[in-house]
């Protein structure tokens, strides 16, 4: 990470925490275990926590558990080498010899990459279902667990009805459990069920977050999501290629907001509740592509390939985040325009081969 990228992260951390520090004071002098700790979410959670440690003397210790701890040292040395971060290389399905002084847990271990879900669905299921069970089993043996945040997914709702602006947490949708891409959302559903069981039977204080879509630093542009690919195509000179229907509707949250929301849900979320995490600012892929193209002095062309009229069945994936806004007083601090600008700036300084 060069100094400009470092500045971007620092500014983001400052901005999102500004005037709100006291909300996370319960984390002071505490130890947090983050499973999937070296992924996109884990990295941003660590950026915020280490910022709080450096600036506000939180003295919070992080255990980042991951199967990729070795490559994290190379990829994110400014975090990996810190004294307040301990890397634990372990498969989530087989947890043993973990620290016993942990009082907060964020369970984020799962690969959200749809390519992996399609090519290795059984592993996807095992990591989420067996991993959740293993983490909660471990948590039930700890002397004092203050809160566990289970990172679920906005995909558990299934297809969003066309006339529903944003999916609320009480929406009971439906998934086609035999669809080729059912492994991830179905596993996330059963993981929430496992959390409910541990909450009921072991009295573990568990809260669920249901993330939607994000864009920002530390998220690889090789990830198979429209906005990442649009930005990658644009940085490479274009054209921006819209796969499928340009009228598809999505929304994107900036990751400093995401991390701040997750930490607030961990500390202040009510046990047993489910909170959507994402942006309610809906945009079609066509408009998104145009917005991204407009960020470049010579805007790249936009090309779409669609072989049928899908206007009657436009895909929409946008959360309602009223619950988090009203009950936890959270807000979106970075809008989509700024998120895109900062993401482009960040990635223009990344070697494309490392996307």
């Amino acid at each position: 990470m060069n100094h400009i990228q470092n500045e971007i992260i620092l500014e983001d951390c400052k901005s999102v925490t500004s005037g709100q520090i006291s909300r996370l004071e319960p984390l002071k002098n505490e130890k947090i275990l983050i499973t999937g700790g070296t992924g996109f979410m884990g990295t941003w959670l660590a950026e915020i926590i280490t910022f709080l440690n450096d600036t506000y003397q939180f003295n919070t210790q992080l255990y980042l558990l991951s199967t990729h701890a070795h490559s994290y040292r190379e990829k994110v040395p400014h975090l990996a080498t810190r004294r307040d971060i301990t890397l634990i290389e372990r498969d989530i399905r087989n947890l043993k010899d973990l620290p016993e002084d942990v009082s907060w847990i964020i369970h984020a271990a799962a690969n959200p990459d749809s390519r992996a879900h399609a090519s290795d669905p059984l592993r996807t299921v095992e990591v989420i279902v067996d991993g959740t069970d293993a983490v909660l089993e471990y948590a039930s043996r700890l002397p004092e667990v203050k809160k566990i945040l289970n990172i679920s997914s906005g995909q558990i709702y299934g297809a969003q009805p066309r006339d529903l602006g944003g999916i609320p947490e009480n929406f009971v949708g439906g998934l086609d459990c035999s669809a080729f891409n059912a492994a991830y959302p179905e596993s996330k559903r059963i993981a929430e069920t496992i959390c409910s069981i541990y909450r009921n039977q072991q009295r573990l204080p568990i809260v669920n977050a249901r993330p939607f879509a994000f864009i920002g630093p530390w998220q690889g542009l090789d990830r198979p999501w429209a906005i990442n690919n649009f930005i990658r195509d644009a940085i490479l000179g274009g054209p921006i290629r819209i796969l499928g229907d340009g009228q598809t509707v999505r929304s994107y949250m900036y990751p400093s907001d995401m991390a701040w929301w997750l930490l607030n849900i961990l500390v202040r979320g009510k046990t047993g509740m489910n909170y959507n995490v994402g942006s309610p600012e809906a945009i079609t892929l066509q408009d998104l592509a145009e917005k991204i193209a407009g960020q470049f002095p010579k805007p790249p062309k936009i090309r779409s390939g669609l072989s049928k009229d899908t206007s009657l069945n436009v895909s929409r994936f946008v959360p309602s985040v009223d619950l988090a806004i009203k009950t936890l007083d959270l807000k979106i601090t970075t809008n989509l325009d700024t998120a895109i600008k900062r993401t482009i700036l960040w990635n223009q300084m990344v070697n494309p081969l490392r996307w």
């Binding site: 399609a118 090519s119 090789d222 499928g244 598809t248 072989s307 049928k308």
Partner: protein, 337 residues
């Protein structure tokens, strides 16, 4: 007017028809002619694609780099395409170099039920900012439902479109329509079709695909391709234009390119030989024709029996070594009788 994206596979599938012995001069000559005709994508390479030159499936007369470099120099307007079967082509050894040489379009192919192997190759191509399409070979060997699932996987890997290949020339038009419609109903990305002419259905099947909603169709000059050849490109374009589709290809110049192909590339215009009909009926990859004919002759067995037995065993491209097993078994049965 609905647009059909044409890929000219003369310099790749046609390579099968001459045992992969296409020369640098032939590539230069035909590529320039196809480019002048406004063909949007010209696919070049060994018949089995990038990195496939080998004793097992046939050695190319010239290496991939020479083929691609020559084609690139002679395609000032058209996109340069390649066919890639993971396993034959590796990312670091083959694909990286091909993209560095100026390849624009990569069609990553797998047997119709094995698309899992295409993920890394598709990702790599997309990460390099090039066009990546998924290809399901021998698509007649599985159900339309399985084709949908396999194509959905490739869509999730980032393929910008998917093609189903009738590698054995086994389809009838109604079967093509049914499959293309099913794919279009279940995918967001464009769908295409690649015909072989074993049962004389190359053009009819391609038209059926277009009528069912396919927006990408392959063809080759004079039908120059494996077995009894592909959909004959100049006929395909003429028919599509007559039906009201747009291909953006200049027909006169395409006819000139086809003449150039006939005079300079094609030793023998593909025709539907008796054995091609049998391979189409048996559903066996057209590229098996030459080795089946050769080995059957050597052991004095009826090549038609060999094809039907290969069809029963559901062999796929790359399993050419099974031919000798089948022939030996049939020869031994013949002796016993």
């Amino acid at each position: 007017m609905k647009k059909i994206l044409i890929t000219d596979v003369t310099l790749r599938d046609g390579n099968h028809a001459i045992s992969h012995k296409i020369t640098k001069e032939q590539i230069a000559l035909y590529a320039a002619a196809a480019d002048a005709a406004g063909v949007p994508i010209v696919e070049v390479g060994h018949g089995n694609g990038l990195g496939a030159s080998s004793l097992q499936v046939g050695e190319s007369a010239i290496d991939d780099e020479t083929m691609l470099r020559t084609a690139r120099e002679n395609l000032p307007h058209a996109k340069l395409g390649i066919h890639v079967i993971p396993g034959f082509a590796t990312i670091n050894k083959d694909l990286k170099k091909a993209l560095d040489l100026g390849v624009d379009v990569v069609r990553v192919a797998a047997h119709c039920t094995e698309t899992d192997i295409t993920q890394r190759h598709i990702n790599y191509v997309r990460d390099r900012g090039k066009e990546a399409y998924g290809v399901l070979m021998m698509s007649h060997m599985t159900s339309k439902e399985t084709l949908v699932e396999e194509c959905q996987k490739m869509e999730s890997y980032g393929a910008e479109g998917v093609m189903i290949f009738d590698s054995a020339g086994a389809y009838l038009p109604a079967e093509v329509s049914e499959r293309i419609e099913e794919l279009i109903d279940n995918l967001q990305i464009p769908v295409g079709f690649h015909a072989h002419n074993n049962l004389g259905m190359g053009i009819a099947n391609s038209v059926a695909a277009a009528e069912a909603g396919a927006s990408m169709i392959d063809g080759s000059a004079r039908g120059f391709g494996a077995g009894s050849g592909n959909a004959q490109l100049e006929v395909l374009v003429a028919v599509l234009e007559k039906m009201g589709y747009s291909t953006d290809i200049d027909l006169y110049k395409l006819l000139d390119a086809a003449d150039i192909a006939e005079n300079n590339l094609v030793k023998e215009i593909p025709r539907i030989k008796s054995l091609s009909i049998v391979s189409g009926l048996a559903g066996v990859f057209s590229g098996f024709s030459k080795p089946v004919e050769r080995i059957s002759k050597e052991y004095d067995v009826d090549p038609r029996d060999v094809f039907f037995e290969l069809g029963r065993r559901q062999v796929v491209a790359g399993q050419e070594d099974i031919i000798i097993d089948v022939v030996a078994k049939l020869a031994s049965q013949k002796k016993e009788r």
